[in-house]
Amino acid sequence: MSRRTVALAVLAGLVFWPGIAQAHLMTTGLGPVYDGISHLFLTFDDLLPVLAMAVLAGLNGPAAGRRVLVALPLAWFAGGLAGFAARAPLLPPGVTALSFIIVGGLAALDRRLAPNVVAGLALALGLVHGWLNGAGIASAGREAMGLVGIGGAIFALTALVSAFIVSLRRPWTRVVARVAGSWTAAIGLLLLGWTLSGRG
């Protein structure tokens, strides 16, 4: 069996492995857009990977930051629409933990990545988490407009955090960003353990 076949089989297994909706949807009483904004800031499952992605983008310089600024919210929105249409998560429960580990781990390592690679990661992150959000919104009977709020909040947060990281000049400040990545990866590892042991 070729590597490509194995990879496709693993991918298909991940896609068709049924999971439960992990999205915690907030209702502010101010409408779906504000619900979406508050969702991002109150849901650590989504907030931490977005912060880690923004840190990773910032560590890789302005070019990566600009690509992620576009790729992440758009992918999140597109994934959200697809998830909303599908109305089912269809993703394994541990997938959120994997995004913590991969993005946080790369930020902790602080190896220079090509801007397109960083943008590709942002695309994958946005599609996966957006899908879960969209499926959660649909299964809760809410409006898809919530995705606009989530996407807008991600755009603003990514812009602020990645620009801040790019602006850091002193070596120790860069290491603080790496420590943040290390903590995110550590949280992801523990979360993966909880999920795989059925206690997450």
Partner: protein, 201 residues
């Protein structure tokens, strides 16, 4: 009615309308979020063996200076979480309590001796012991609490203990500070011996 009075009436009318028209907040209840975070935050500081080892990592990092001062706190949380992952998956680790006690002895000895091994040796030593700490401490989620928030609290508390060690280690720049750190290292190693005695008894 004066202009000021009209404005005040308008403000009161708008405030009243806002209150009367406000729709109820149907906040989705995420059970166990705060409790999970607090439990995670509390757990690392509830065991003296864990606290001393974490602080010793920070002290040693401060003695080593850059880049060790940053490498150790970057390495420790990830490897510790890997130990937690092993524990959660049910992978048995022999002599966990002994490993934790030994971490106190060796890390304390490193601080007391102001040891300066190659950076990779320091990182490997810290990482090796981190597995034991994660295996023992990272897997005790109280029922009904958020696993994610427990993990966030646990990692934050561990990082804060490293930070405390680094901050205390700042006295390394003075002669008396260097001596005080070495004495503190001896104290940590002594406590490690005490914990080891308890583990083998």
């Amino acid at each position: 009615m004066t202009v000021g009075g009209r404005r005040q009436t308008l403000r009161l009318t708008l405030a009243g309308a806002a209150l009367l028209l406000a729709s109820p907040a149907w906040a989705h209840v995420q059970q166990g979020q705060a409790a999970g975070f607090l439990a995670g935050l509390r757990h690392p500081v509830s065991g003296l063996d864990h606290v001393l080892a974490m602080v010793a990592v920070g002290l040693w990092g401060a003695q080593l200076g850059a880049p060790g001062i940053w490498l150790l706190p970057v390495t420790f949380p990830v490897v510790m979480a890997f130990g937690g992952l092993l524990g959660l998956l049910g992978v048995a680790l022999p002599g966990v309590e002994l490993g934790i006690a030994a971490s106190g002895v060796l890390l304390g000895a490193m601080v007391a001796k102001e040891a300066r091994p190659p950076l990779w040796v320091a990182a490997a030593l810290v990482g090796f012991f981190a597995v034991f700490h994660g295996h023992a401490h990272g897997t005790e989620l109280p029922p009904g609490q958020s696993a994610l928030m427990y993990s966030v609290g646990f990692v934050t508390a561990t990082g804060a203990l490293h930070g405390l060690g680094i901050a205390i280690g700042g006295i390394h720049r003075w002669d008396w500070g260097r001596r005080a750190l070495r004495v503190a290292g001896l104290g940590v190693a002594g406590a490690g011996v005490f914990f080891m005695w308890g583990a083998v008894r």
